[in-house]
Structure formats: structure tokens, C-alpha cells
Amino acid sequence: MNVLAYLIPISLILGGVGLVAFVYTVRSNQYDDPEGDARRILSDDWDDRPKP
């Protein structure tokens, strides 16, 4: 059962990383235009240098 000492923290950290990533996406307005972003990826306008 000693393996629990590693596995539990690891699973919690992985979950936490997911949570932090989600919070980051919400805070940086990534859900403002889901439809537009899905289409934008198809155009090559900003491929060489990202949009400011």
C-alpha cells in the first residue's frame, strides 16, 4: 500500500493542473467566440506571426 503515498499526490496534482488550465482559459477570454476560433484555425492569415 506504500505506493499510495506517490499515487494520491500525483493524481491530485494532475487534476489540479487541469483545473488551473481551465481557470486560465476562462480568465484569458477564450470562450468569448468559440465558433469564430474554430473557423479561424482554418485560415492561414496569422500562421507565420501570431495576431497581436
Binding site: 500500500m1 499510495l4 494520491i8 493524481s11 491530485l12 487534476g15 489540479g16 487541469g18 483545473l19 481551465f22 481557470v23 486560465y24 476562462v26 480568465r27 484569458s28 477570454n29 468569448d32 467566440d33 468559440p34 465558433e35 469564430g36 473557423r39 479561424r40 482554418l42 485560415s43 492569415d45 497581436p52
Partner: protein, 727 residues
């Protein structure tokens, strides 16, 4: 972290760095933030084309298209006008409308929604982890391992609930402070009691801990809240966009120069120029010019009224033929348009008496749950004299009965139904509008602008002599008056040729005149051509000294009006027509649509009073109207619908807004509302059945955390699936 992330591209670093610039900034105009509505964009190519064109404009700092909202936001130098940007986009072949950025700013960041989403995410993360730990406890973890898992669960659950549960705690506090019980009181109590008993159990290395139930409960309930919030946020943002489409601007005359200013900047005594086709921005007196004004939005009359010097005009009236200069006598909140808001406020206080299905369920439910849980605590305490067992059982009862499915029952259905109606072009603005729409048994329609489109149509073309029509066509082509345009349209469709009339000129407020074969010809108002006025809308043609010929008009029906009335009658509803227009006009329309009951020449207060009288007789009235004269009636009715073309005040007062031009969705909406309410009741029944099965187990002390978790998840999922069956 967030401060750097959120820096908007519009922030000008130089301005921030040099506070001395502030003195200058007081004189210099701020950067133009322009919003355009682009209803026809649909693909990646549209986005790049419009963005590229806008960014190529040298004074545009940045432009971004939002495909979800079908909107473009532009950051530009101060002297760039929205009109210029609109023309640029229209040049690319897309429809574009200017949006008032001031009205939209509220929607830009949906703070409450983001806050709920964050809490939902934390609750979701915590509940998944705690569930995982609980599964190992249920599958047989023992002694020290079980205690360790319980302690880890506690460490995750406590902070997560402290953060995620705040909306419930806050609502429950507010309700208790007013001495009332709502759905949030049992929720809060269940969560808190579950956490406290579980902590106590864990510290005594007990077997049962309800951390998983407490956090899963929070998660499901937050999901319901978030759905509810989103539905309303979508409706609100669409309603705001409608408002923003009417940019409040006026042309002010100052020392003979014209300047375009916002309506908020006008003050009493200002001279304002209103061009033909423009709407009066303020109440005032005409100081120069003659014209005709269309007051249909205020009074429901379709007949344009003559306007000359010295006459009073009210905000909201539309100027038809000649330019008018008015001196403002009342601005902003003092205008007659705004004073109507008082009437609305009075009428609305009546509506707030409606208790939603969820609230009435909570009223029955909340005390029942508390009594049941209290009794089982008392019973077990008296039976065993063991506080720990009794408290454990009381907590189990509260968790099992917690209105998890009830919290989802209503939002899941309203989200599904609102989404369906939104696709058909109806915007549900009020949270209980659907429930109220389902109860409707009487429908009151306004005439002008609601059942009719407000566009006149020539009615006596067949009886007119051909030469008279050709003369009328020649004269009407010189005018932008709606009646003249109706003649032009009818003449073109009928294949008439224009007579050769020379020296055509428009006399604003009266009509048009010209010379035909040496004779004076006039087309215009009865008094101007010397004819007897008629009851219906009419214009007159006179050649020389001959007797005037009347051209009569009727309002064209709005598309879908016939279907809507027919569908409502078929559903067994009583349909009534109420209008401020003249008796013959109203009667003709009522006969045409097969409406048995009608009321003409009704004043705004009459309409509201009639609606109130109907409600007092026990009828549930649906009011459909668009004008200022309907506003009070819209607010007084049980539920109200207004078309998108309605006046802003009318749209604010109504619960549902029709986005398209078509009226036919009204019939179907009543059906959908009925189905939705039926589904909500069904959901309540499902939730009750789960409770009836699980509560005896809990009271008997046989309920393990596993059973609690199963019952809760199963009932929540069934309720959500049932809501999705709605069609």
C-alpha cells in the same frame, strides 16, 4: 498573473505614462470604439476578409470579428465614424449595422457567468477526486487506509465547498434574514450538516463519511444554476443588441452649423433638426418647417398628422415629409416617452405576485424536509440515547432529500425550451415567462405595427380611372411619403405609365403639385385639395377645378399574422383586437382576420385598464403589442410579446421579443410553453419518486454513503434526460 493577461490592446501606454496628457485629453476626443452588427457572416473566409479590410484602413488600430455574436469591434482614431466603417464593410458585400457601444459595454464581460463557471469547475474537480477516493472506501478499504482517505477527502472538500457553495449560502442567508424559506435553505443545511457530521465521524475513525455526497450535491446544483444563468444571459445580450441597434443621436443646430451629438448631451432650448424619416429625439415645439408626422408608435393611429410651426411634438414620433427644426422643451427622462415608464412600473408590481413552479415547490418542500430530518434525529436519539448515531441519520435524511433533482428540474427544461424558441426567432427575456405563457387563455393584439406592418397599401386601384392613376403615379414619384410610395408601388406593379406632368414640387406637410396640360394638379391632404375628409386613410387627387378623386389605403398585414390568429383560435383561446386607430380601420382588420372581439380608439390607459379587467375576471392575458400606447398594457398582462420593430420601451416591458418579421411562431410558442411546463411537473414527480424510495431507507438508518450517491446521481441524470425529450 491575470493583470498582464487581461491587458486590452486598446490601452495606450503613452497616455498612461504621461499624466500631463490628461489636461489635453479633456479637449481631445477619446479613441473611437466602434461596434458593428454583421448578421450575414458565417465562415472563416468572412472573418479574414472583413478583418483584413478593416485593418487596412490607416486609422484603424485594431479590428476583431466575433463569429459567435456576429459582431465586429473596431478600435480606431477619434475622427473615424461608425458610418465610414459600416460603408467599408457593406462595400465588401456584407450587411452591417452600427451598434451603440455604450449600451453593449455591459455585455462585454459577463462577470456573474464567469464567476459561476469558476465555482462549477472547482466543484467538478473536487467531486471527481473525492468520488475516486470514495470508490476505494466502498470497495473495502479498512482501518488506517480508510481514515487516510477520509482525511484527504476532507482536505479537498472543505476548501472546495467554502468556495463553490457561496451562491447558495448567500441566498439562504438573504432568505432567512427576511424570515422566509427558499430552496437554498435546505441545500445549505444539508451541505453544512453533512460536512460537520462527516468530520466528526472521521475524527472518531468512523465508517460513514458523506464528503462525496456534499461535494457532488454542490456540483449538480451549480450545474443547474449555471444553465439557468446562461439561458438568461443569452436572451439579455440579444435584447441589448436590439437596443444598441438604435443609436441615440440627434442633429443639433448651433449658430447655423449642424453637429451630430448623443441624445444625452441635448438640453432644454436646443434647436434640433429632424430630417424626413427621422424620429423625434425629444419633446419640443416646431419652430421652422412643415411636414407630416407619424404618431402610430405613440397612439396607434395610422393616419399621418399635419405638423406646422408652433405645434407640439413628442419624442418617438416619426417625421415623414419635410425637414423640421424643433426647440427642445423636455429632454431625457422628462420626455413623454420616459414618463410612460412610471405607468409600466405600477403595472409591473402586479406581475411580481406570480410565484414560479420552483418557488411553490420549495414552499411545500423546504419545511417538510426540515421536519422529517428533525423527527428522525429526535426518534433515533430517544431510541438509542446516542447523539452520534442520531446526527448521522439526520444528515443522511437531509442529503437524500436534498433538492438536487429539483434544482435541475426547472433550469434543464427552460434551457431546452428557450433554445428551441430562440431558433424559431423568439427571445425569452423573463425567467418565468414560459410558465406564464403556458397558462394563457386570452390573447390581446394591438393593430398598428403588430398585426399590420405599418406599411400602407392602395386599396381602390380597380375603381380608379386609368388617367387619374397615371397622374397620381407621376406626382407620387416625387415624394418619400409612405402613402406616395404605396401609390408608386401599386402603379408599377399594375403596369401604369407615368403621365407627363411638369413643374412637380413637394409641399411638405400637404402633398405634391404639378402642371398637366396647362392645368394645376394636386395630390395630397383633403383640406389642401378641397375634399371632404374620409374616415379611412386616404389621399386625394384634383385636376384643375374638377371634383377630387380619393385614393384609399389600408395597412398591409404582417407576415404570419393570419396563421398566428388562426393557430390561437384553434387552440381554443379567446382573441381580442385592441387599437388606438379609428373604428372603420379596426373593424375591417378584425373582419379580415376573423377576430370576433375588437375595441377601437383606445387610449393607452384604456388598454391597460381593459387588460386588468380581463385579469380580474380570472383570464390569463397574453398581450402582443409594439407601441408606446401598448407599454402599460404589456406590463399589466400576465405575459407579453413584442416584435423586434417595437419601441425600446415596449420591448423592455415585454417578456418575450419576436426577432423576425413573422408573427406565426406565437401559436407554436404557446404549445412549446405548455409542453415545457408539463415536462417541469414530470421532473418534479420523478424527483419525488426517488425521494419516496430512498427516504425510508435513510430514516431507518440503512442508507450508506453509496446509496446516497447513487440516488442523487441517478435522479439528476433522469431529470436532465427527460428535459432533453422536449420538442
Amino acid at each position: 498573473m491575470t493583470a498582464t493577461l487581461r491587458a486590452t490592446p486598446s490601452a495606450c501606454p503613452a497616455c498612461a505614462a504621461a499624466p500631463a496628457a490628461e489636461a489635453l485629453a479633456a479637449r481631445a476626443l477619446p479613441d473611437a470604439r466602434i461596434a458593428l452588427s454583421l448578421p450575414t457572416i458565417h465562415c472563416a473566409a468572412c472573418i479574414s476578409k472583413i478583418e483584413a479590410a478593416l485593418n487596412a484602413h490607416e486609422q484603424v488600430r485594431s479590428a476583431r470579428v466575433n463569429l459567435t455574436l456576429k459582431r465586429a469591434s473596431i478600435d480606431a482614431a477619434p475622427d473615424v465614424t461608425a458610418e465610414e466603417m459600416r460603408a467599408l464593410v457593406e462595400g465588401l458585400g456584407y450587411e452591417a449595422h452600427e451598434l451603440d457601444a455604450g449600451t453593449l459595454s455591459a455585455t462585454a464581460t459577463d462577470k456573474a457567468g464567469r464567476d459561476l463557471l469558476m465555482r462549477l469547475a472547482v466543484a467538478g474537480f473536487a467531486s471527481m477526486n473525492v468520488m475516486l477516493l470514495s470508490v476505494s472506501v466502498w470497495s473495502g478499504a479498512e482501518a488506517a487506509t480508510r481514515d487516510l482517505f477520509h482525511w484527504i477527502s476532507a482536505a479537498i472538500t472543505l476548501p472546495a465547498i467554502a468556495f463553490s457553495g457561496v451562491p447558495f449560502f448567500r441566498n439562504a442567508c438573504a432568505a432567512l434574514r427576511q424570515g422566509r424559506l427558499n430552496m437554498d435553505v435546505p441545500i445549505t443545511l444539508a451541505i453544512l450538516l453533512a460536512v460537520i457530521t462527516s468530520l466528526w465521524e472521521t475524527s472518531l475513525s468512523g465508517e460513514h463519511a458523506y464528503f462525496d455526497a456534499a461535494i457532488a450535491l454542490t456540483f449538480f446544483l451549480l450545474a443547474g444554476r449555471y444553465l439557468d444563468h446562461r439561458t438568461r444571459a443569452i436572451a439579455r445580450s440579444a435584447a441589448e443588441e436590439l437596443t444598441a441597434l438604435e443609436v441615440p443621436r440627434a442633429t443639433r443646430l448651433r449658430e447655423r452649423a449642424e453637429e451630430v451629438v448623443g441624445i444625452a448631451d441635448l438640453s432644454i432650448g436646443d434647436l434640433i433638426l429632424v430630417r424626413p424619416g427621422g424620429r423625434m429625439p425629444v419633446d419640443g415645439v416646431i419652430v421652422a418647417g412643415t411636414s407630416e408626422i407619424d404618431r402610430s408608435l405613440l397612439t396607434g393611429e395610422t393616419l399621418p398628422v399635419f405638423a406646422g410651426e408652433g405645434q407640439q411634438v413628442s419624442a418617438g414620433e416619426v417625421n415623414l415629409t419635410g425637414p423640421l427644426t424643433i426647440r427642445a422643451t423636455a429632454v431625457g427622462a422628462e420626455t413623454s416617452l420616459h414618463r410612460m415608464a412610471d405607468l409600466v412600473a405600477i403595472a409591473e408590481s402586479g406581475r411580481s405576485r406570480y410565484t414560479s413552479l420552483a418557488d411553490s415547490a420549495a414552499k411545500l418542500y423546504a419545511p417538510g424536509v426540515h421536519i422529517l430530518s428533525g423527527l428522525s434525529f429526535l426518534g433515533w436519539y430517544l431510541y438509542t440515547w446516542d447523539l452520534r448515531t442520531a446526527l448521522n441519520i439526520a444528515a443522511a435524511v437531509l442529503i437524500i432529500t436534498c433538492p438536487c433533482a429539483l434544482g435541475l428540474a426547472v433550469p434543464a427544461v427552460t434551457t431546452a425550451a428557450s433554445g428551441r424558441l430562440f431558433r424559431r426567432g423568439m427571445l425569452i427575456k423573463h425567467e418565468t415567462a414560459l410558465e406564464r405563457l403556458a397558462q394563457v387563455d386570452t390573447v390581446v393584439f394591438d393593430k398598428t405595427g403588430t398585426l399590420t406592418s405599418g406599411m400602407p397599401r392602395l386599396t381602390n386601384l380597380d375603381t380608379l380611372p386609368r388617367d387619374a392613376m397615371e397622374l397620381a403615379l407621376a406626382l407620387s414619384q416625387a415624394s418619400a411619403h409612405p402613402l406616395a410610395q404605396a401609390i408608386t408601388l401599386a402603379g408599377r406593379d399594375g403596369g401604369y405609365v407615368t403621365a407627363e406632368v411638369s413643374d412637380i414640387s413637394e409641399v411638405p406637410g400637404y402633398g405634391t403639385k404639378g402642371v398637366f396640360e396647362g392645368q394645376d394638379v394636386r395630390l395630397g391632404r383633403a383640406s389642401w385639395v378641397g375634399a371632404a375628409p374620409r374616415a379611412e386613410t386616404a389621399t386625394f387627387l384634383r385636376v384643375g377645378e374638377a371634383a377630387p378623386v380619393a385614393l384609399t389605403f389600408a395597412d398591409a398585414l404582417r407576415p404570419g399574422a393570419e396563421e398566428a390568429v388562426e393557430a390561437l383560435v384553434r387552440q381554443g383561446k379567446r382573441v381580442i383586437l385592441m387599437s388606438g386607430d379609428t373604428t372603420p380601420a379596426v373593424e375591417a382588420l378584425a373582419v379580415r382576420l376573423g377576430i370576433a372581439q375588437w375595441l377601437a380608439e383606445a387610449l393607452p390607459a384604456d388598454k391597460a385598464a381593459r387588460v386588468k379587467a380581463l385579469s380580474d375576471q380570472g383570464a390569463h392575458v397574453l398581450m402582443v403589442g409594439d407601441g408606446l400606447n401598448d407599454t402599460a398594457a404589456l406590463a399589466a398582462a400576465h405575459v407579453s410579446i413584442s416584435p423586434a420593430s417595437a419601441l425600446d420601451a415596449a420591448r423592455v416591458a415585454s417578456d418575450i421579443v419576436l426577432l423576425g418579421n413573422d408573427l406565426s411562431p406565437i401559436g407554436a410558442a404557446c404549445e412549446t410553453a405548455r409542453a415545457a411546463t408539463r415536462r417541469i411537473r414530470e421532473n418534479f414527480r420523478i424527483a419525488t419518486v426517488y425521494n419516496i424510495v430512498a427516504v425510508p431507507l435513510a430514516v431507518a438508518g440503512l442508507c450508506s454513503p453509496l446509496i446516497a450517491a447513487l440516488a442523487m446521481s441517478a435522479s439528476s441524470i433522469t431529470v436532465s434526460l427527460n428535459a432533453l425529450r422536449l420538442r
